[in-house]
Every structure is written in C-alpha cells, then in structure tokens.
C-alpha cells in the first residue's frame, strides 16, 4: 500500500507508481511475440538458404552417377590381376566385308561371332587392310577327318578363320577369335575356334592359328567372305590392356 509521505508535496504515490510501473504480462508477451521469429519463419529461412542448394550441387558433382559406376565395374570385370577390359560393342552385317576399326589402344582383342545359316563359303581376315602376302595360317579339324582343312598356308593375302557353313535350317557357325600383342612392335599371333551343329545334330569344329608378319599396331580387323563374297552375321568385340 502506498503511503503519501507529504500530502500534496512531491511525487504522489500515483506518480511513483506510474513511473515504476512494469509492463504488464500481456504487454511483455506481445513484445516477445513480435520480436522472436515463429517456428514456421525459422523453417522457411533454413529451407531457402542458398547454402543448401550450393551443397547439393557440390555433392552431385563429386559423387559418380550409377551409370558411371556401372561402366567402371564392367570395364574392370574379369581382371582380378589388374588391367582393364573394354566392351567394344557389336555389329550385325550382311555385306561383302565388315571392318572393325578403332582398335589400336588394346594389347589383346577378342571377337565372338555367329554366321547366319546358308552361308556356303570360307571366310578370311585381314589386319589393317593389309592385302600383301603377310599371313600364315594353320587350320585343324577337331572332328572327323583330321586332315580336313589342315594347313599350313604361308604367304597368303589373308588369314583363314572359318570354313563352310552347311546350308540348312537352323545351321549357324559360331566362333571365337583372339589376337595377341595387338599394339606391340612384334608379329601378331591369332588363334581361334569355330563350330557348328550339322543336320544330324553332331558338333563339328575347327581350330585355327595364324601369324601376321607385321609389327604395326593393329588398328582394324576386316572379316570377308572367300573371293570377297557376301556373308552375314553378328560380331561382338572385347579389348584388354
């Protein structure tokens, strides 16, 4: 209770009370509310910070994509001792020859092929388009007459790799061809095997080996039919270092 010290003189109780009167709780609450940001305002401010998008951009640029990871894994597959394998792709063809180029960076090349049925011809390989007599080859039959198709053939203008495919429904000739030391400064070694199933359902095959008497790096491989005749099939390629 206020006590008037000197009635009528000096500040009265009411004056003192007015001077020292603290703001009411409601006033305080209102002042606080207007000066402190709401939770929604805080969230908005945080979410629109440009730092977040900058961070996201930086992260996206540093982390490889799934496609990049998959490509790297595929390239390195099958090389537990190091080195790299590269899938060169595949091509279907129905022409007198098919030339596969862009090969000079590999130390080893492998081609897998299927020749379509009805092809009644022999097939040959040329390297780097070389038509000189720089090829030596040996072909050995693995079934039936062991002398069938045997070489060696030296001084040929192309390397034998596949013989006649029977002309009949369902017949296809398959094969794998390997070339070693393709970017070395030495002669190139070629080896392969082809096979087909005859009309009686029996497997028949040939192995072949050869040499290209040339020390240039291999940049292209041409597959062609005998006498430049047309043939059709599919070739898959792989390269390794």
């Amino acid at each position: 209770m206020a006590i008037d010290i000197i009635p009528g003189v000096g500040p009265q109780n009411s004056d003192i009370a007015a001077a020292v009167n603290a703001p009411s709780a409601a006033t305080i609450a209102s002042t606080v509310a207007s000066s402190v940001p709401t939770l929604a305002q805080i969230n908005t401010a945080v979410n629109t910070q440009t730092n977040n998008s900058a961070i996201a951009t930086a992260v996206a640029g540093a982390v490889p994509t799934l496609a990049q990871i998959t490509s790297t894994v595929q390239s390195n597959a099958g090389s537990p001792f190091g080195g790299t394998w590269t899938n060169l792709g595949s091509t279907n063809y129905n022409t007198n020859s098919v030339t596969i180029s862009g090969l000079s960076s590999y130390r080893y090349l492998r081609f897998s092929f299927i020749l379509n049925n009805g092809e009644s011809n022999n097939y040959y390989i040329r390297l780097n388009g070389d038509t000189a007599t720089n090829y030596l080859s040996v072909v050995q039959s693995t079934v039936g007459n062991p002398n069938s198709g045997a070489g060696p053939w030296s001084g040929r203008a192309s390397l034998f790799y596949m013989s006649t495919v029977p002309n009949g429904a369902g017949h296809q000739r398959i094969g794998v061809l390997e070339i070693f030391g393709t970017n070395s400064g030495a002669y190139k070694t070629i080896a392969g095997e082809t096979a087909f199933i005859d009309s009686g359902g029996y497997w028949s095959g040939r192995t072949f080996k050869g040499t290209w008497i040339n020390t240039s790096a291999i940049s292209s491989v041409t597959f062609l039919g005998d006498g430049g005749s047309a043939h059709s099939g599919t070739i898959w390629g792989q390269g390794a270092n």
Partner: protein, 77 residues
Amino acid sequence: MNRPNIKFFNVETQEEIIREMNDEEYAQHLIDKEAAEFRAAEAAAKQAEIDAAKAAVHEKLSELGITPELIEVIKKL
C-alpha cells in the same frame, strides 16, 4: 552395275557405315575373286587326283579278287 556393299564399324565412336566399294576396294575385290576361283580349281584338281588314285587301287585289288565288300569286312575285324 552396282558394286558390292561393305561395312565399317568404329568401336571408339560406335559409328556404322555401309557403302559401295570404291575403286581401290573394287580392284582388290576382283583380285580376291580371281584368287578364290584359282584355289577352287586347284582343290578340285587335287581331289580328282585323289579319286583317280583310289580308283586305281580298287581296280588293282579287284584284280586280286579283293572286292569292296571284302574290304569292309576286313575293316571290321
């Protein structure tokens, strides 16, 4: 007359091109064709030689009374 088609596939670019042979390629094609015909003729001549030699042997065996049927029986012994 249209020249034969040939195909090129670049593994670096994965680009594929199919086109007719140019003059140089067509000239080589004719050389390859002639070489193939020569090989075929050579193989046919060699086979004819082998067939003739077989026929001569069979004739001689026949003169000795050894017929082809007897030869088959002997093979199975």
